[in-house]
């Protein structure tokens, strides 16, 4: 995983990356049929300024802060320039994996110029992707 450096990934206000509780890999929580996570903004292939707000949409599911165990809910994770995930393990918490553990549905990003990939994945109360995973398409944006 390329640690893209401290200044790459920015969050307004709080650190989203709450420390992961040491969770043994377990079968993920079930996701409801038709559940999908997607980008309201940005869309695949667009040019964006260095600072922009990522807006997250979620279909057929609800948002709950990390730690809240409730069926058909989860919290968002934004993957920036990240390698494919191991979907059976807790999502890592680092600059390439932004945890929106307070139930946020948007996040302000600051990225250096150039192409970047973004992907959304919903994690359950233990930050583990659901079964089947609720994962967006990996999109590419061009930071100017």
């Amino acid at each position: 995983m390329t640690a893209m450096g401290r200044r790459i990934v920015a969050l307004l206000g709080l650190l989203a990356g709450l420390g992961l509780s040491a969770v043994v890999a377990a079968a993920g929580t079930a996701s409801p049929p038709g559940a999908a996570v997607y980008f309201h903004y940005p869309l695949d292939g667009i040019h964006v300024p260095q600072r922009f707000t990522v807006r997250i949409g979620l279909k057929e599911m609800g948002v709950a802060p990390a730690g809240v165990t409730k069926a058909n809910t989860g919290h968002h994770h934004l993957l920036v320039d990240a390698e494919p995930l191991d979907l059976t393990r807790p999502i890592p918490s680092d600059y390439n994996h932004i945890h929106l553990g307070n139930g946020q549905t948007e996040v302000l990003l600051t990225l250096p110029p150039g192409p970047h990939t973004l992907q959304l994945v919903v994690g359950d109360h233990d930050h583990i992707p659901h079964t089947p995973p609720v994962l967006s398409k990996k999109i590419t944006v061009y930071v100017r």
């Binding site: 969050l11 990356g17 420390g19 802060p65 809910t73 307070n102 549905t105």
Partner: protein, 434 residues
């Protein structure tokens, strides 16, 4: 025209300015040899240049001599910036637009603001007067790349300090802790407020001290407190961290000299009981009794961050929409949590259709006009009859009571078009304009 402030010259040039001595009397003009010329080295007309620019001066068929030295076929350079060629029979003025190089310098570092500028070299004799005929370069037009402009730094008052209040090097703190910022000798002011001897805090977490001549970055390692906050609740992952406070001016640039605290090391530990002590003081009473305590007593409404906002991602205000439309909810600076989950700065959405804003100190009613999204949903497909409708989003806490201050949208009006295309849709859009 350049102002003196915008054109900051380096120390070397200051001496040159002093060289302008007794020039008051009309000097004799010195002859220049034919074909003598001065020119810019490696700088072309129309060039784009950085703001801090080293200009090199070339000379041909003559020689450089310091000001005051009377020797035939010599002179010293003058750089004319954003000014017309000087009068040939007068000493060249000495001001920010006319830089003298009376010690015989053949290069200079200048700082130009972001704009188009003209540059011209003029040779002057020992009395700073142009020769006869004048030895001048062409006028170069250059454009300064705005990205290269260095930020001016605000001076800090002597003795200004920032420090952590009640937090020492080596302290053990909870993973979610309130950190207090102390300040002395300088006043806190919100970002964007330009006043002397003011600034706002930045908390630097696990990062080296920021560069002093540019904006402090805004990322998880550099938290900005642009509302002049003097404390903040921060969440740290368990383990050791370094913290440092940096004050910066209205443009987030550190002062000169910088007002930084010492970097301290802290260790964050998970609290024993995961219970949130700051559980919202929501009315435990049955819904409907909540309004009894709306006076000066205990607050029944959960506080919301002042910059929190809920908004419609879709539809926008005034939109014409299909009868079956997915309404998408946006939320800024707060999080979503299912109903019943009491967690600071979270709530759940309510979509109000064709109803007035309900009382804000009571739970939002639960009926077909007040849609609750107690599972934490952030969108909903709704069906509306053709015609005009109003929509409103209100975020509410674990007990369905709106926040204080309320986090809600205005009532937006949308027009639902008839299921058929054509004339009906047109009529609908006309109606929208009323």
């Amino acid at each position: 025209m350049l102002t003196h402030a915008s054109l900051r010259m380096l120390v070397a040039l200051l001496a040159a300015l002093a060289a302008r001595s007794a020039d008051a009397q009309q000097p004799q003009r010195k002859a220049s040899p034919p074909e003598a010329r001065v020119f810019f080295v490696d700088l072309k007309d129309g060039a784009t240049v950085p703001s801090r620019l080293t200009v090199r001066f070339g000379i041909d068929k003559m020689e450089i001599a310091p000001a005051g030295v009377a020797r035939p076929n010599t002179g010293h350079h003058h750089l004319v910036i954003d000014a017309p060629p000087p009068a040939p029979d007068q000493p060249i003025p000495s001001d920010p637009n006319h830089l003298h190089f009376g010690r015989g310098q053949t290069e200079a570092e200048i700082i130009l603001p972001a704009a188009e500028h003209t540059l011209q070299l003029v040779l002057g004799d020992q009395d700073h007067a142009p020769h006869d005929p004048p030895v001048m370069s062409e006028v170069l037009h250059v454009r300064v790349d705005a990205a290269t402009v260095e930020r001016a730094r605000t001076p800090s008052p002597p003795g200004a300090t920032v420090f952590f209040e009640g937090l020492d090097d080596g302290a053990v703190i909870p993973t979610r802790a309130t950190i207090r910022f102390g300040v002395a000798g300088i006043t806190l002011a919100p970002a964007g407020t330009s006043a002397p001897a003011t600034g706002h805090h930045h908390l630097i977490i696990d990062a080296p001290p920021p560069d002093v001549d540019r904006e402090i970055p805004n990322d998880p390692n550099h938290l900005h407190f642009g509302k002049a906050q003097s404390s903040a609740e921060v969440t740290l992952s368990p383990g050791p961290h370094t913290l440092q406070l940096a004050l910066a001016d209205h443009e987030h640039v550190p002062h000169d000299p910088p007002v930084f605290s010492k970097a301290i090391r802290v260790v964050a530990e998970e609290p024993r009981a995961p219970d949130r002590p700051a559980a919202p003081a929501v009315a435990q009473a049955a819904p409907g009794l909540a309004q009894a305590t709306s006076g000066a007593g205990a607050p029944t409404r959960t506080p919301a961050p002042p910059d929190a906002a809920v908004y419609f991602i879709y539809p926008p205000k005034g939109a014409t929409i299909y009868p079956n439309t997915t309404v998408r909810f946006g939320l800024r600076n707060m999080g979503v949590a299912p109903a019943g989950v009491a967690k600071a700065n979270t709530g759940h959405h309510h979509l109000l259709v064709d109803v007035e804003t309900p009382p804000l100190d009571q739970p939002i009613p639960n009926d077909p006009a007040h849609l609750h999204f107690g599972n934490g949903q952030t969108e909903k497909k709704i069906s509306l009859a053709p015609g005009r409708h109003t929509l409103q989003l209100i975020l509410a806490d674990a007990q369905h009571v709106p926040f204080d201050p309320p986090v809600m949208t205005e009532r937006i009006e949308v027009t639902v078009m008839a299921p058929r295309k054509g004339g009906a849709a047109k009529a609908a859009s006309k109606k929208r304009r009323r």
